[in-house]
């Protein structure tokens, strides 16, 4: 995995002391402020989403950072700035897909996890969680992605289709097959 360079939080571009910002500088400042605000509001959720896809915390952070960097680079080209969050979420999913196609460098299950940080996490036995997540990661990437979007983000079918760039019928058939396979992996034979 590439070494990461952790930078300081992006500072807002300061106006020139004497003449004030020109149009280009003001645009840059606006983009930076908007992207930064979006990051502060949504980065945690997106890192969690990427983590579910990759099973790798550092990789998840990488993907999210690059997604926001891409948003910043393309800010001027966005036709609808109001859809920036959807854009960056799609970028995160794209990034996860690309990351999954590269050789894995860290075993998913072997990576030590931080202690549960919420009552919700503690409420579920660690073994149950590991079993389900282990099974989830045995699914083909696209099946896992559909299930994560459906049951973690509770996204409706149409939103999943848009986020993944696939048809709704494909979402349905993929979810169906994924659930059958997951059920079998978990030995659901009650």
């Amino acid at each position: 995995m590439n070494s990461r360079q952790r930078g300081s939080p992006a500072a807002l571009a300061a106006p020139l002391a004497s003449a004030g910002p020109g149009p280009a500088e003001q645009d840059g400042a606006d983009a930076e402020a908007a992207v930064t605000a979006l990051y502060q509001a949504h980065a945690l959720g997106l890192v969690r989403l990427a983590y579910l896809m990759l099973g790798d915390r550092a990789g998840a952070e990488d993907v999210v950072q690059e997604a926001f960097s891409g948003l910043y680079r393309r800010w001027d080209q966005l036709a609808d700035k109001g859809r920036a969050l959807q854009y960056v979420r799609s970028s995160v999913l794209n990034g996860c897909r690309s990351a999954l196609r590269r050789p894995r460098h860290a075993g998913v299950e072997g990576t030590p996890q931080p202690a549960a940080a919420s009552a919700e996490a503690a409420a579920l036995t660690s073994e149950e969680r590991r079993e389900v997540m282990r099974a989830l990661r045995r699914l083909p990437d696209r099946q896992r992605e559909v299930l994560v979007l459906r049951f973690y983000l509770d996204e409706p079918e149409a939103a999943i289709a848009r986020a993944m760039g696939i048809s709704q019928s494909t979402v349905r058939s993929t979810a169906h097959r994924a659930l059958i396979k997951l059920g079998r992996l978990l030995g659901e034979t009650r």
Binding site: L44, A116, L124
Partner: protein, 445 residues
């Protein structure tokens, strides 16, 4: 918590919660001067703009229906004209006269042998003691006969002369043959001498003359979890052969399958670790050759191609044409192939031809695409029957299903088959496509 969905939801939320509040690292943006992003901030190529976020998504369809008109490869189809009326434009291949359908109201979610009272969706507490299937005339869409099976029907398939059903009763699946009587007004249902199978099964396909049934099973493999095996059983004497997934391929999975016209070669899709894995492809297996290695055959066509990316394929019975629907766009003859396009790969060189592109029209906000897999493909691959959808993207309303016949460069709409859009159907030569049970259809929003 007693449903699979609950377990997934809880596990996912718990896993995500291990990413503690406030623990996301600070944002680090590219420095000025490195825009407009010829390279990423760490020297990687810029991400492709996600399809869903592209400002100019023009996947649009006219509100009217498709009509027979020439589809010129590399060009989009103009707005539709009036619907095609009977008789059907059949070539020498000929659409099958009848097909089998599981009516939508009778379906239950994902019950499998050994899973008697529960399925993959909201749990039905009791399996149906019987299910009634309908035999449909392709030319009219009307039910000509019905067949009642003594349990929950988990898979159906069709050969040239008969239909087949795998029926779950108790903890095992048993197999039945369904034949139309001479007057085409009733059916005879016969239990086959195939050993009941207690393993979960899926993707059943009947050989062209109905002498064999192929299906995949899921078998627990100890600490490695499950693997899929292939079973081919004789419908006449019940003898079976089994092919096993090698340990090195344990993370892969079989998909839909169909027999070639020779009655011995079985085609199936194989998905490796992901659709982009090198092993993900359409495969051919000679079921008459010795051995039990599921991967002993050969890969025909990978999922990732220049014409687009696919996650499943069907092959014509003569083995010369492979058909799939793109889930990621591609390029054929210099023209873009959008998502939801039907592409045929012909000959040894797998030359791509676009059989259908989603229509582009004046109105925006409409989506049009075809299903992953055809309902039926003709012997030579010149005819493909497939469900295609029109949907207004913005409100997420349920898509309108059109049954479309792609033939010799033309696109025909078969409105009399529209009612089958939500059913599981089995056309001869192709395994049934499972329709989605009601719990998985998201409400309009």
């Amino acid at each position: 918590m007693n449903t699979l969905e609950d377990r997934i939801r809880a596990a996912a939320h718990a896993a995500a919660a291990t990413v503690a509040d406030g623990s996301a690292p600070p944002l680090s943006l590219p420095q000025p001067g490195r825009r407009p992003g010829l390279r990423g901030w760490r020297g990687r190529p810029p991400w492709v703009v996600p399809l869903a976020a592209a400002a100019a998504v023009l996947v649009v369809v006219a509100a009217s229906i498709l009509a027979a008109r020439a589809v010129v490869p590399g060009q989009t189809v103009p707005d539709a004209g009036p619907p095609l009326a009977a008789p059907l434009p059949l070539s020498a291949d000929g659409l099958p006269a009848y097909f089998l359908a599981i009516p939508a109201g009778d379906q239950q979610a994902g019950a499998q042998p050994g899973n008697q009272n529960e399925g993959a969706g909201p749990i039905p507490r009791r399996l149906s003691s019987h299910e009634t299937l309908r035999v449909v005339a392709t030319e009219t869409g009307k039910t000509v006969a019905t067949a009642t099976l003594p349990g929950y029907v988990t898979e159906i398939a069709a050969s040239r002369g008969a239909f087949f059903a795998a029926v779950v009763r108790g903890s095992a699946a048993t197999f039945f043959e369904i034949r139309l009587n001479g007057g085409r007004t009733g059916t005879t249902v016969t239990e086959l001498p195939i050993q009941p199978d207690t393993a979960p099964l899926e993707f059943m396909a009947a050989s062209p003359n109905g002498s064999k049934l192929a299906y995949s099973t899921l078998v627990m493999h100890g600490a490695e979890g499950d693997v899929q095996n292939l079973v081919v059983a004789s419908t006449t004497n019940g003898s079976q052969r089994e092919w096993l997934t090698p340990a090195r391929d344990a993370q892969g999975s079989m998909g839909l399958m169909n027999w070639l016209g020779d009655g011995r070669t079985l085609a199936f899709t194989w998905t490796g670790r992901s659709e982009a894995s090198p092993s993900s492809s359409l495969r051919l297996l000679d079921t008459a050759a010795p051995g039990d290695d599921l991967m002993a055959g050969r890969a025909v066509l990978p999922f990732v191609t220049a014409a687009g990316e696919f996650d499943s394929y069907t092959i014509s019975p003569n083995g010369r044409v492979v058909v799939g629907t793109t889930f990621r766009p591609g390029v054929v003859n210099g023209a873009r192939v959008p998502v939801g396009s039907v592409v045929a790969f012909s000959g040894a060189a797998h030359t791509p031809t676009v059989l259908y592109r989603p229509l582009l029209g004046v109105a925006t906000g409409w989506m049009a695409y075809c299903d992953d897999l055809p309902l039926w493909i003709g012997t030579s691959g010149r005819e493909v029957l497939i469900d295609c959808y029109q949907q207004r993207a913005a409100n997420g309303a349920k898509a309108v299903v059109r049954v479309v016949l792609l033939h010799d460069g033309q696109v025909s709409y078969l409105p009399w088959l529209a009612a089958t859009g939500n059913e599981t159907t089995a056309f001869p030569g192709l395994v049934a496509i499972m329709a989605m049970p009601p719990p998985y259809q998201s409400p309009a929003h």
